[in-house]
């Protein structure tokens, strides 16, 4: 099994830990100073992905795994996650396409 992570001290983990907290802190700062607005979503998503990526790579130890597992998880998950996003265009239509109802 993977032995990576046993070498090296806790230093790496603490850096990641601080980064994850910092990501949340940045999110709060941005959201707090800039309430509302659709442009908030992409920023939030990018930050959340960055935080999650740190977690997956280091806390879950994916970075230390074999390349094949990294590829499998990354390609599989990102592909399927991307394909579930087809529906968005319709959410805009539900928002705007109601001219004759009350």
């Amino acid at each position: 099994m993977s032995t990576a992570g046993e070498q090296g001290g806790l230093g790496k983990y603490i850096v990641v830990y601080l980064c994850m907290l910092a990501v949340t802190g940045i999110e709060v700062a941005i959201a707090g100073s800039n309430p509302g607005g659709a442009h908030l979503l992409p920023i939030m998503l990018i930050l959340a992905f960055a935080g999650a990526l740190l977690g997956v790579l280091f806390f879950m130890g994916l970075a230390a795994e074999k390349r094949s597992l990294i590829l499998f998880v990354a390609v599989f998950t990102l592909f399927v996650m991307a394909t579930i996003n087809y529906g968005w265009t319709d959410s805009f239509r539900v928002l705007m396409g109601v001219p004759y109802a009350k």
Partner: protein, 267 residues
């Protein structure tokens, strides 16, 4: 046994093709201005699909005939061109075929959905509910009064939930149970669902669109033949689904004006 299977497959393939070639079962004849695009796209696809179907079935049958139970000695024959040839053929021929179909088919789709109705198109609102269609004409002012769902009452025949006391636009609206339209005039159909999903399917008109509750969609079309056609519901809407229909009467402009007057008087 193998030879028998080969013959059976060929007989089935040809028998399946006969009703298509003979046009035994056809949809109602097209009465719309855009329908020929759909029909020709459909017929082109039928040629390609039919050829693929017959070719595959017959090839399958021939090889079964030839090789079932064969016990040849010595060198085996492999399919000329081998896997590379077959994969190449599939990629190139089928790829080109479906791309072409997709690209040309876009035109028919775009005509129906991507072109806005003309400015002088006649607006008609259709409301689908379990299990009937109702139609609303805006009347002389050309405007529909707003719908108040809480006022919908079938007992008092307030089918659209109109409030003529407060809404000026509602006062001259005409509500009918059948749809009459003038021939050769573009109709801008505004679709509203009262309860669950329904569909507006007029085979003769080559028009098909679901009603989406909470979302008012619109369609536009022009009928070119006077006559009486059926509007049916094709989206499962409950126990009366099979029985949900209305008639579409395509009339000359003069007849339509008369009809509209008569309906207005009856309101």
């Amino acid at each position: 046994m193998g030879k028998f299977l080969a013959v059976t497959i060929i007989v089935i393939a040809i028998a399946s093709a006969i009703p298509v070639v003979m046009h035994t079962w056809e949809p109602p004849a097209d009465i719309s201005t855009h329908g020929h695009l759909i029909d020709s796209q459909r017929d082109d696809t039928m040629i390609e699909a039919g050829v693929s179907f017959l070719a595959a079935q017959i090839l399958l049958a021939i090889f079964i005939w030839q090789f079932a139970g064969s016990k040849r000695e010595g060198k085996r024959k492999t399919f000329p061109g081998g896997a590379k040839g077959l994969v190449g053929a599939a990629l190139v021929l089928v790829g080109a075929e479906v791309l072409a179909l997709g690209a040309f088919g876009t035109k028919a789709w775009a005509t129906v959905y991507f072109t806005p109705p003309k400015a002088d198109a006649m607006p008609i609102q259709v409301q689908a509910g379990q299990f009937a269609f109702y139609f609303r004409y805006p009347g002389p002012d050309g405007k529909f009064g707003p719908i108040h769902p809480e006022m919908i009452n079938e007992g008092t025949q307030n089918l659209f939930g109109l409030d003529p006391e407060h809404d000026v636009e509602s006062r001259d609206d005409i509500v009918t149970a059948e749809m009459a339209i003038p021939v050769n005039k573009e109709i801008h159909l505004l679709m509203h669902a009262k309860d669950v999903s329904h569909s507006f399917y007029v085979p003769a008109l080559r028009v098909h669109q679901d009603f989406v509750p909470g979302l008012d969609l619109s369609l536009h079309f022009t009928a070119t033949q006077v006559g009486k056609y059926e509007i049916v519901c094709s989206q499962l809407c409950g126990l009366g689904h099979y029985n949900m229909r209305a008639y579409l009467e395509v009339m000359s402009q003069a007849d339509f004006d008369d009809w509209q007057k008569k309906q207005a008087a009856a309101q």
